[in-house]
Symmetry: C2
Subunit: 423 residues, 2 copies
Amino acid sequence: MDPVITDAQIGAAVAAEAEWMEDVLVRLVAAPTVLGQEEPGQRVMEQAFRDLGLAPYDLRLDAEAIRADPGSSPFSWDVSAKRNVLADWAAGGSGGRSLILNGHVDVVPPAAEALWTDPPFSPVRRGDWLYGRGAGDMKAGLVAMCGAVRALRRLDVAPRAPVWLQSVVEEECTGNGALQCVLSGPRADACVITEPHPDHITVAQVGVLWFHVDLRGAPAHAARASALGVNAIDAASSVTAALRGLEAELNVDPPPPYDAFEHPINLNPGRITGGDWTSTVAAECTVSYRLAMYPGDDPAALQRRVEAAVAEAAAADPFLSENPPVVRYDGFTCEGFSLQHTEPVAVALGGTYERVVGTPAPLLATTATTDARHFVRSGIPAVCFGPHGENIHGIDERVSLPSLTQTTHVLAAFIQDWCGLTA
Amino acid sequence: MDPVITDAQIGAAVAAEAEWMEDVLVRLVAAPTVLGQEEPGQRVMEQAFRDLGLAPYDLRLDAEAIRADPGSSPFSWDVSAKRNVLADWAAGGSGGRSLILNGHVDVVPPAAEALWTDPPFSPVRRGDWLYGRGAGDMKAGLVAMCGAVRALRRLDVAPRAPVWLQSVVEEECTGNGALQCVLSGPRADACVITEPHPDHITVAQVGVLWFHVDLRGAPAHAARASALGVNAIDAASSVTAALRGLEAELNVDPPPPYDAFEHPINLNPGRITGGDWTSTVAAECTVSYRLAMYPGDDPAALQRRVEAAVAEAAAADPFLSENPPVVRYDGFTCEGFSLQHTEPVAVALGGTYERVVGTPAPLLATTATTDARHFVRSGIPAVCFGPHGENIHGIDERVSLPSLTQTTHVLAAFIQDWCGLTA
């Protein structure tokens, strides 16, 4: 199909949306959409979709349907009030390929609010950067996909196959929001997730396991700790050490494409809580860990290795042998994937990027997981590409506004390349 | 002075109070008097003092006066609503020695509520035992001192020097309740604290330091933990390991009377909290530690050694060298003491015990601290002696009711021996 509009026209239309995009981004970042509090962000997305001239609609999370799917991750909390917000840009012609543009509205907590220069949910612009938790991961990505559609609609064109916009919840813990889209949302010829993966296209990702180890101790007065007590906080250190051993094993001889990484598989003790009194030997300690696995690895097999490592640590202590730590799974239990570099969506998006930006976009792997796995698993090829963010999950997270503009430009041009446009 | 009443008469009078005593104990244990929630327990004590025919009165905590005293421990919380409850049994004659009977109404938290056979603040009697948090440490001790006075008053006698009853707060964290008694309460010739030290009399105790280490990490996405992150939870393990080294040093060649213990100085990491998301490298972790010191050791000197150990652990890590852990002091900062075995109150109470019980009560040291230090420091010799408790600071804490009766008998007989009685 011949192009209906030029990249230059698209660039100008995106530039004209810069103010609207920044405004939406600021309102999104100001919504503290941590787990369980996604709704204010979804209301912003609803309005953003309306601003495109589209009719947003809800896709509510169905706990039963999610749990019944083998690709779901376990969760212990109530999701009955949660919704993804979707909007369809219907085909105005025929002969094109359909596309899902997907992003998540949930963000991780601030890590350490006191260390931020400005409060994490008070967006601040400094020069070319917009600061705030979630600015990069991935509210700018949500804005980019909206901006691309709005720019094209400003040019009075329509796609030759549907473009489906999806703002999902729970990417940061289970991916069950995106899974619900796969279960009951539209099918498409491809999906682009506008995660903050700039200047490259992500075609492979690790699997991730979240697990929580509940440790018991023998509480006693601290005055007699050595004689009577077994400290659950000390036991947690032993378990972490054993798991570090497993992590080291997993990083020996990584298979491609992970042989490009020095240390692809990361274990992270992300949360710990233990004990209830300074002078009482800690009776309980719980540590929450994140551990990755290679594409093709079975999450259940990694669970067995985790359990073996924990059991090995427990075996070294008579009390823990009798009172073994409990390993619970709550959150990510998901496999990785690796697309062929000939996958059409990757090739096409790479082509668009190179034409618009002037430099090639390599096809890369990530040591993280993303919602792309659900689409890939269901037969919808999915890649990640989005604005340049920094300090993701860190302090003073920020996103580059020029990168947001460029990403939006590439996405809009890609819609023409992939879906085709009609005047 | 010749005895006014016999030990047998006292024993019978104590036996007659058994039901009242158990009732008070049950009501005390049912009051969940953890830090900051002491008041319901103090109301029970107020009524108990009234039941003795005495007039209870308040001794409110004066934060400014406490902080101005070199024997106080630092505290970060509000004490303005806190009170000790006191009652004076005035002298009915002359020529005796005055006595303070002191106990604390505060208890430590349950350690792990789910592990208890019955809820920790639902007192349950099984055979000779009364179960519940604080039953042993030290609500039965409070009941024993009340029971002793009530038994004697039932016999229509009065002491030849005042007996001062004190129910104090904050023994488990600062001792500042007892300190307030020393600052503005009565002075006496001796003090007996009815801590659960059965079948012996405690004449020496360690000093205790509470300190809290705030660790920083470099938060990052867990996917890039090894490349970008420094995990504050891992750092906490390193700091604890360094402090275990200090603990080991402190246990080499203990001075008498602590050479009788295999491991007199105990370090306890009692509480830990760190991180805010499983897939974020932990930005913060705080560990609360308890560490003991020998009588004669300067708490300030131990603080310097703690800080050196923490700094040593930090020096091994480039990030922690630049972002050194902060050591905070909140709670116990107190010295130990060791009384002479010829101390009159110890000798006299030992004599009473041996006469009433039939076996000697050795004079021992404890690896814990108690409020006795404040009295000793102010020149009032103080010892600990009280009912037999088990699982202090542990699960299914319990106190022996026969031991409570026996302790009460010994205390009542000791009031006659120490203070003298008039008919």
